[in-house]
Amino acid sequence: MEPVDLEFEEADLELPSEPMTLLMGPSHPAMHGTIRMILKLDGETVQEVDIQPGYLHRGFEKMSERGTWSQVFPYTDRLNYVSPLLNNVGYALAVEKLLGITVPRKGQLFRVILGELSRISDHLTCNGAIAMELGAFTPFLWYLKAREWVYEACEEQTGARLTHSFFRIGGAAAQPTAKLENLIVPMLPKLLEVVAEGESLLLKNRIFLDRTQGVGILTKAHAQQMGASGPVLRSTGIDYDVRKDKPYLTYAECDFDVPVGEDGDTYDRFMVRAEEIRQSVRIIEQSLAMLKKIAPGSPDDAVSVSDPRIVLPPKKDVYTTIEGTIAHFKLIMEGIDVPAGEVYGYTEAGNGELGFMLVSRGGGNPWRARVRGPCFFSLQAAHDMIRGKMLADIIPTFGSINMIGGECDR
């Protein structure tokens, strides 16, 4: 038998390690069901990562080419399904840019209000999910409770909880309902309260801080190269927000701030989103006040343009007059006649710059509808946030990118 007290060199005592390949997803609970990561691990350190999207590729762009311009709306709902109304707004604005029309003021304010409500629900879900994936279940449930209020207001207006398909080319499907304001106004302070409550549980919590601060860092230069936008870009300290830099709708008249982070880590992304909820509440409050100032009966006091070539006639006319029936039939069956050309229309959606590259050859069908899903770009940048970090850090980093399958894989 060998003697027990053999003298070893220090290096001999190191356990031999060789890289291990680990498949994460696509049905991993933290991968939101649709992403697969192939990790090469050295112990717990991630040496190499290959992120594979595409498990929720549903052919958005192919389907858009097959219907009329208006038939794309239901598909846009399901791009970023956490904030469907913002996608509706983005697509409607892109087609309107191609048509060269502007919606009346009331319609614009209406889009701002509902869009910002959607943004709130997006950020609540994302921040709640980050907390949940770090083991803090309570803030998640509280944020979902608050999200129900937002859904309730949207349901009152659009009739659907999640997939609204509410906005139309040239306006909206309906006038604001009588109850809408009554639902929104008392909700806003309660929302802020819930957000603050959730933060009070997290922001002094050692576990939460240690697992988010300094984790998943993205640098300014790299974020730009990768095409990151929205909260992911702003967390690095670049204050690029389409609502400020190229104001659309009535955002130019609103007084709101663009929160930016400093380090570009998971904590900053969480905080940017939390602050954006507060700013959205400010925008909604101001927009509601502006809505009240519109003189009844003035040209501003309409949600849709009055061009019969674009907007469907009122149902009453469809059923009682031949002109109405024909107009309705033509718009539904042939679609809106959009002039030939191509535009890139972009808005600030929940995850960043949502761009629609629309190509028309004239006529009722889009020739090509490309959507620039912001989280597809952010997700690509995640390679560098994850590489060289610990395995467990993937979860909060990935959560804070807010990868939404519908928008990422389209």
Partner: protein, 188 residues
């Protein structure tokens, strides 16, 4: 347990009931469903809602989510299944231990929905057997609860034929109750 003649025993009384063993087992199973949420798409949001405080799926004995197929009884297929995802879904299904049930949550999982194209599986019953279809795009949480109750019902009946959640009518007077609730909430 329709077979049982139910009578509540009084204090100090004792008694017994007879039933078939299968039915007793089915009755026990239907209230302890461990679920595996295979959430891929939009419907996942409504699945969250159904699990969240307002709708609280826990009231129906289906609280515990298990993210390991080996520990779960019900596979919720929540959202669109693309052709690329299909082998994954089948693998998850095959890993589950018997007895197992599958719920197709939403139109996409039931028939592919309006994604009628090269990328999407036209209904998960092309891939795996399904017990309950819940229509809706996405279904409301109420419909989800209906679907769960339908599944429990089927479990109790030992019935494995696929079934779809039917449209339920609001009971008489529900509209007024809702309006009253709204008025109550609007009070400062």
């Amino acid at each position: 347990m329709a077979e049982l003649e139910t009578r509540v025993l009084g204090g100090g009384e004792s008694g017994f009931a007879t039933t078939k063993f299968e039915l007793l087992l089915a009755w026990a199973r239907k209230y302890s469903l461990f679920q595996y949420p295979f959430a891929t798409a939009c419907c996942g949001m409504e699945f969250f809602s159904a699990a969240s405080p307002r709708y609280d799926i826990a009231r129906f004995g289906a609280e515990a989510p298990r993210f390991s197929p080996r520990q779960s009884d019900v596979l919720w297929v929540v959202g669109t299944i693309s052709q690329r995802q299909a082998p994954v879904l089948r693998r998850v299904y095959e890993q589950m231990t018997e007895p197992k049930w599958v719920i197709a949550f939403g139109t996409c999982a039931s028939c592919g929905g309006f994604y009628d194209n090269y990328a999407t599986v036209p209904g998960i019953d092309k891939i795996i057997p399904v017990d309950v279809f819940i229509p809706g795009c996405p279904p409301r949480p109420e419909a989800v609860l209906d679907g769960l109750m339908l599944l429990q019902d089927k479990i109790a009946r030992c019935d494995r034929t696929p079934e779809t959640v039917k449209n339920t009518q609001l009971p008489a007077g529900a509209e007024e109750t809702l309006e009253k609730l709204y008025q109550l909430r609007m009070k400062p």
